[in-house]
Amino acid sequence: MARIELDLAHAYGPNPQRDEDYALLPLKMTFEDGGAYALLGPSGCGKTTLLNIVSGLVTPSQGGLSYDGRDVTRLTPQQRNIAQVFQFPVIYDTMTVAENLAFPLRNRGVPADRIKQRVGQVAEMLDMSGQLNLRAAGLAADAKQKISLGRGLVREDVSAVLFDEPLTVIDPHLKWQLRRKLKQIHHELKLTLIYVTHDQVEALTFAQQVVVMTRGKAVQIGTASELFERPRHTFVGNFIGSPGMNFLAACGAADGIEVAGRRLAAPKAALSGLGAFTLGVRPEYVRLAAPNEPGAVPGVVTQAQDIGTYWLVTASVGEGVDPSLLRARLSSEQTIPRVGETVWLSIVGEHTCYYVDEDLIA
C-alpha cells in the first residue's frame, strides 16, 4: 500500500517539441494511499501510458514518480511490488487455478504452507474455492480475469493494484458482479486501486476519484458528482453524462449576457464584463419554462425521443442569429412538446457553468 506521487511527462519518440509529440503532457498529481481511482478518457488519451508508468512497464521520458516518498522512476514492476490486471485475462495455461494464484509467491520463495494459506484466503475472497484444482485454461473469461486479479491480491504487501480496462471481455451481467467484487475487496483490504477505462459508468461507480484525460492531459480530477456538476473543462462536460453537456456560444454585454439571440440578465456579475464565452448546461437541468421567463430561451423542437424512463427533447435555439441544438432530459410525467412546436427552455440556473477557452470560469 502506497501513496503515489507523479510529476512527469512522457513522449514515445525522442525530442518532443509540440504538444502532439507527447503521449502524456506534463502532469503533477497524487494517488492517495488506499484510494480507488479511475483514469477515464477516450482511446488514445494517454490513460494506459499513465498506468504503465505507474506500474513501471514504461519509464517516463521526463520527471519521475515516487511511492511513499521513495523514488521508483527506474524500478521494475517487480521491485515496485505492484499488481496489474490487463485487458485480456493473462493466466498460465498449464497450471491449475491454485498454481496460478501461488505463482507470484513461489517466485518470491515464500514457504509452502504460507502459500497454501494465502491461496486459500484469496480464493475465498474471489469465490473460487471450489475451482482451485481446475485447470485455469478451461475457465470462462470472467473466472480467468478473477485469477489475474487474485495473483495480484495474493501478495499481502502489494503497493497498488492497477487495472487496464479489465472488464472489456466480460459479459455485461457479470461486469456488475465483478465490479461489486472489486469494490468489496477495496473496502476490505484498503488497497490503492487505479482503474483505466473508457466507460464512464464503470469509472463513476468504481472510483472515489476519477481522473478525466484527453489528448495526453489530465483535465479534471474529482468525484462523480464534481465531474457531473462542475466540469472544469468542456471536454469533461461533454464526455461525462449521457448525453453530454449542452454548450452555447454567449457573450457578455453591458447589462447582461447574450445567448442564442436573447439578452438575459447576467447570472453572475463577472460575466457581464466578459467578451465571448461558452455557456454549459446539462440536459438534466434544462427544463420547460413559461414564455419570456427570466433565464429561458425559445426554441423549435426538432426531435423528441422516448428513452424509457425519460424523454430526450432536442430543440433548435437562436434561429436566424446563432442556431445551435439544445438537448433537454424531461421526465415522462410532464407534457412532452411535439416536433415543430416552439418551446421556452430555461438554461440559466445554479447548475449552469461558464467557460472561456474550454476552461471553467464560473
Binding site: 521494475t76 490487463f86 485480456f88 498460465y92 491449475t96 484444482n133
Partner: protein, 294 residues
C-alpha cells in the same frame, strides 16, 4: 418433415472426383499390386496376403525400419529443441529480424539433391571444408567408409537442412504471444526460465505439434539426401525405408512385395503420427487432478 434435397451431392462430386483421381485410385492400384504376383503385363496371379507375410519376414526390411525409427527420433530430438532455441535467440524487431529471417530460411530453399551434393563435397577430407577440418584436427573421418560417420553425417545434414523450418514455426508462435503475458510474468516475479516454461512453451504447443509431425513424416520418408550423399552405404548403414522400397520396386522390379511394403509403410506413418498427435494433444491439457470434477 423437412423436404429432402439431394442437390448437395452435386456440390460434393468435384471433390470426390479430384480426390479419387489423385489419391484413392493410385492407392488402390498399389493395393491391387500387393495381392498379386505380376509375372508379365498379361499374366498375373492372385496371391492373397503372401507378399505381406514375405515382407514381414524380410530381415533387411526390419533392419531398415529400425534404422529409420532411430533416425527419425534422433532428428526430432535434435531439431525440435534446437529450433526452439534458435527462435528464442532470433531478434524480434527491427531490420535485424528481417535479415535473420532471410538467412535462416536459405537452407529451406535448396533442392534436396543439391543439399546431398553440398554435403558430399563438404564432408570430403581432400577438398571439403568440414572433412578437411576434421582430418586436420586428427579425426579419422570418412562418411563413405565408416558406418557411424555416415549415419551421423546424414543426421547432421538433415539438421542443417530442416532445423530452420522448426525455428521459423516457433518464431511465428513466439511473436503471437501478447505482450501482456510477459508484463504479467514480470509483475509476478517470474524468472527467465519460468517465462519459458509457463508462457512460451505452452503457447508454442500448437506450432510445435505441426513442427513435430512435419519433421517426423518428412524424416521418415527421407530419400534424396542420403541417396546422393552415401547411396545407403557403407553396407546398409544409411539405407532407410524409402530407399529400400525403391530398390525393391524399381531396382528389382518386385512390384508385389514393394506394393505390400508401401502399404505397411503408409500405415506405420499414419499410426505413428496418430500416436504423436494424441500424445501432444494431451501433454499440458489433461487435468492434473480429477478431484476438481467431483
Amino acid at each position: 418433415m423437412k423436404p429432402v434435397n439431394q442437390k448437395a451431392w452435386l456440390l460434393v462430386v468435384p471433390v470426390v472426383l479430384c480426390v479419387a483421381f489423385s489419391a484413392i485410385l493410385p492407392l488402390m492400384t498399389v493395393v491391387n499390386y500387393s495381392v498379386q504376383d505380376i509375372i508379365s503385363p498379361e499374366r498375373r496371379v492372385f496371391v492373397g496376403t503372401e507378399w505381406f507375410k514375405a515382407v514381414m519376414r524380410d530381415d533387411d526390411l526390419i533392419g531398415a525400419l529400425g534404422r529409420q525409427m532411430v533416425f527419425s527420433l534422433a532428428v526430432l530430438a535434435v531439431e525440435i529443441p534446437l529450433g526452439i532455441a534458435l527462435a528464442l535467440a532470433m531478434p524480434a524487431k527491427g531490420w535485424t529480424s528481417s535479415a535473420v529471417l532471410v538467412l535462416v530460411a536459405i537452407s529451406l530453399l535448396i533442392p534436396w539433391n543439391v543439399v546431398g551434393t553440398i554435403w558430399q563435397i563438404y564432408g570430403r577430407t581432400d577438398i571439403g571444408l568440414m572433412g578437411a577440418a576434421l582430418a586436420a584436427l586428427g579425426f579419422d573421418y570418412s562418411y563413405t567408409g565408416n558406418a557411424t560417420h555416415a549415419w551421423l553425417t546424414v543426421l547432421l545434414m538433415d539438421v542443417w537442412h530442416w532445423t530452420p523450418l522448426v525455428a521459423l514455426l516457433c518464431y511465428a508462435g513466439l511473436r503471437a504471444i501478447p505482450d501482456a503475458y510477459y508484463q504479467a510474468a514480470s509483475i509476478d516475479g517470474a524468472s527467465k526460465f519460468a517465462v519459458f516454461r509457463y508462457i512460451q512453451l505452452p503457447k508454442l504447443r500448437g506450432v510445435l505439434m505441426i513442427a513435430v509431425l512435419l519433421r517426423f513424416m518428412d524424416s521418415f520418408m527421407i530419400y534424396t539426401e542420403p541417396f546422393v550423399l552415401t547411396g545407403g552405404g557403407p553396407g546398409n548403414a544409411t539405407t532407410f525405408l524409402s530407399q529400400y522400397l525403391t530398390q525393391k520396386a524399381v531396382g528389382q522390379f518386385d512390384l508385389g512385395p514393394a506394393a505390400a511394403f508401401s502399404l505397411i509403410y503408409f500405415l506405420i506413418i499414419l499410426l505413428l503420427c496418430f500416436i504423436l498427435y494424441n500424445w501432444m494433444q494431451r501433454v499440458g491439457t489433461a487435468d492434473k487432478t480429477e478431484a476438481g470434477h467431483g
